[in-house]
Amino acid sequence: MTKLSSHPYIPNSAREIKEQMLKEIGINNAEDIFGQIPEHLRFKGELKIPNGIFSEYQLLRHIKGLLDKNKNCEEYISFLGGGCWQHYTPAVVKTIMQRDEFLTAYVGEAFADHGKFQAQFEYASMLGELLEMDAVNTPTYDWGIAAGTTVRMSARITGRSEALICGAVSPERLACIKTFAFSTVPDIQLVGFDPDTGLIDIDDLKRKMSDKVACVYFENPNFFGVIETQGEEIAKLAHEYGAIVSVGVDPISLGVLEPPARYGADIACGDVQPLGIPMGFGGGLGGFIATHDDPKFVAEFPSLLFGLTTTVESGEYGFGEVLFERTSYASRDKAKDFLGTMAQLHGIGAGVYMALLGPQGMQEIGEGCLQRAAYAAKVLGQIKGIKSPHFKGAHFKEFVVNFDETGKTVKEINKKLLDYKVFGGYDLSQGFPQLGQSALYCVTEVHTKQDIDNLARALTEIVA
């Protein structure tokens, strides 16, 4: 093995330093320490792992070489969404997320890490403005886990153990909710959607609603991109039975759509990824949870909550953790849930994004999504054999396209689209067989009219 005089990341690997330190400890080598581990528990031999690439340039070349085997959404035009969406990341967002101060900070204290606490507080505050809710967590892993957490919170608040998951919900998120809620809410029932409009089937909800239900969860826009218009009615019904209403929402829609709090949600959740966090193969997610400022709800948050307070210095803002005793760090298993490394950096990035866009920007980006989705749904619907949009309801940035009459499968079509350097919509035929050969298409501010027209032309040729 070829070694360096010292490894750039391991300064004390320099021979003289290492020897000096061993001498100071009073031993000859590290084996004098490791030797205490019983022989039969020791790893013998050499690790079979690749040789190191010590040159930074060569390392970059090596990894670029691997990544070049991918085709990415800058090379291709992508119409994929469904839980991870292509939105533009403003340069300032990237700059701040890459600052070593935020990037490499641990959990820390509000004294030396004051700025980080403030950035988290501001993230929560701005999201609170979008949601019109006063209590917002620091982000958890993703929307699926956030939704699962709201189900658990509801179970604790109500003392009940059933949940109704309504309408078109992402199968990925549903799977997360089920795993996460299993021990407290083993009974998760699904409420159907109207095959025509894509909206929640209220009659089905009424049939399944009872005073055993802890939580009624739905998404808006739902997984099919359809804007749910019956929120108020659903919330009213749920509240009549003493259930808690949790609504999953795409935050980038909130410049144009009413926040869930306006139609009766007790808890809102969703993903911060649309707020300028790069997709990163799904690595860009971060789940938010928000409630009104009701101690009964606030006490059930499993996440860290940062509060604004004062310090001994007059006029100085200080930050600290609100109701710290909720968390498992302080109280282990009797706590509400476990807590750990989650997605704070994405919260900070999303905060920068909201500050950059402001109310106008949020409105414009939302309007742009609405118009592009309407346009794309319309032009695709003009292609023979394609039904688009599949649902009659209003759409935000996603819509379902049905290919049944083309006689082709989504899989076949998407393969062909690759020749046009296009990633077609997400294939729904496995998760939602009742929709036949359907795909979920997504358009955002990154799509031009040309991109959409090109897609339409390509599809026309493929299904012809």
Partner: protein
Amino acid sequence: MKKVGLIVNPIAGMGGKLGYKGTDGIVDLCKESGAVPESPRRAIEALKKLSPLKDEHEIITCPSEMGESEARAAGLENIKVVGTIVPGNTTSEDTKRAAALISDHDIDILLFAGGDGTARDVYSAIDGKVVVLGIPSGVKIHSAVYAVNPKRAGEVAYGYLAGKIRKTKQAEVMDIDEEAFRNGRVTARLFGYMTVPDEPVFVQSAKAGGRGSEEVDVENIAFRVLDEMKQGWIYILGPGTTTKVIKDKIGEGGTLLGVDVVLDRKFIGYDVNEKHLLDILDTGKPAAIVVTIIGGQGLIFGRGNQQISADVIKRVGRENIIVIATKNKLAGLGNKPLLVDTGDEETDRMLEGYIRVTTGYHEQRLWKVSQ
């Protein structure tokens, strides 16, 4: 302006050096033997810790050696003296009178220097809401109302007055059971609870900091015990604030200081004695005992719950003993074991070894028991 009440039992601690189990009732004997009282010195040591309060306080105390002298010796100002005493000849009645008089002055905290007898006297004279703190200087300290040492008492009192310590908790007032003492056994009885500042463990590190909430822990422990109660079983619930939470969830009438008995979630006996317990066990129903730690020394049997005697324990069986305690209370023991002192060697030995202590709804901790 903070108001600090102060009572020094000037004779506390005298008996100790002479090998007595206390000074109560043997004052003259002590004096004749030339014993020097410990409490004035210890009180001064604690009171010096209040000096950062400067003139932001008022001391309300008794004349002469019952507080005034110590406060002055500690360099404190703004001293208001109430009541009268006969110097050199104070009694337990003086402590009671002083406690009543001083606690009428709308005080923020009442400090008292003494031992278990002093704590009992204060307890008998004040309202339960008054926040107190004991400066340990007596011979017998079973009561948890005392700080670990005088210096710490001063620091905790200062912390409470300066707003650094905000929470309070209930702590045991205990004293030697004279009846048992006359029968040749040294054992402590639980007389009640007083409110003391709850020393914070002052960390706000997000990584793990904060401290568990005692109240939430106790609630969760209670729910666990209730959820695991079996039909047709007799549950003997010992005294203490932790077991009281379970009693309150079962219904009204559960006692704080007594042993109560429950069957199918209903009380079938309140504040029962040993004989009553044995009669209940005679019904032949399976039984379990629920006890918590009494006092700061980690005792689970033999202090304050003597009704649950060696005979009772033997008939219930070790496997049916449910020990409950918050994990903060356990952690407070450090590496020390839980203690048992049932008066019966064989029973004590049977109880030795690791035992499960229920510390939360989902959590039990193993802890060592020894005699």
